[in-house]
Amino acid sequence: MKVLPLDKLREALNIMANDAEVYVPMLRDDISGYFQWADNPADELALDLLNTYLSPKNVVIPQTEPMYKFKTSKQDVEITEVQVREGARIIFGIKACDLKALENLDMAFLTMGFEDEYYKARRQDLTIIAQACYKPGPACFCEGMGADRINPAADVLIHELENQDYAWEAKTSRGEELTAKIAALMEERDVTLPQAEPQSRKVDMTGVSEKLAEMFEHPVWDDLSSRCMNCGICTYVCPSCYCFDIQVSNRGEAGNRFRCWDSCMYREYTMMAGGHNPRDYKKERYRNRFLHKLQFFNERYGANLCTGCGRCVILCPNGVNIIEVIEKVKEVKLDA
């Protein structure tokens, strides 16, 4: 099997970065995320981490993104669309959970009537180098959400070997092309792939979506939501959450319309200009978040909007835990 030695990794990334935006897990001030590779000496590669606190969704949906610019003079307005930079993008080291989340984003942005042009521009020439995940962490539950963590569908699949070199498998023609560019750095070697350790968190989603459909007005939501403080951490670190806001930035006679991530946890999210807010209380917002993840998205697209990456479980400051929510929902006894 082809092997990319760890000490050749930076060089490989540099070659890839010659004609593509390359996004790599990095650590900055103990905050890990997928950042664009520029071979800064200060950039600490974080491929040894299980995953990153910040999800890789910024590769396809930047948190803030200009849509079009405008110029006004008296009554006239002129607008110019902001074009997303065309060209190749590469995401390196993405795990099965986040890859499955990317499939969710594809469904949300590219199907059901309209295609989102900004998303499409970033997504269409994206090469995916996924890393097999042999050693899950205590918050991981991707298997329960249907991910194949050892063999996710990607252009290239890499496996971290015992000596930290990467076994390298090109899976698609796009992957072959990329591999050819860095072939000189690779060695052909017999390798033993690591043993997969079991995932300790088991989640069985059978019947959850259907049961939730009967539970909209169940009192369990009062209890579950009581600890939530309605901040947006869970939605912003989630690799699947995709809701956005459209806003304007205006400096006198010119400005731009941009979109930015938004969170269903915020009161302002559904607040209408006249003052009516269909989700005025935290319980309603909390419920909508979990129903969107586990029921509504399922009904609309046939998948859970949760892929078991565990980020929200790790980062919620008040201990809101989607696995506990699923278990509580299963425990609820519904009247026949």
């Binding site: 930035s249 400096r251 010119a254 400005g255 731009n256």
Partner: protein, 54 residues
Amino acid sequence: MMKSFLQYLGIEPERYQMAWISGSEGQKFADVMTHVVDEVKKVGPNRKLREEHE
């Protein structure tokens, strides 16, 4: 307090000024404004807390 806080954040304190001016103190208003403009001119163009728009 605001002035001290902005200074703490590294922003030139001259850019934030306060004065009590009554509605009847027209001359004082003019003087204060002139003073503000003079002070800000002395510090020069603002580079901080500034959105870049091309």
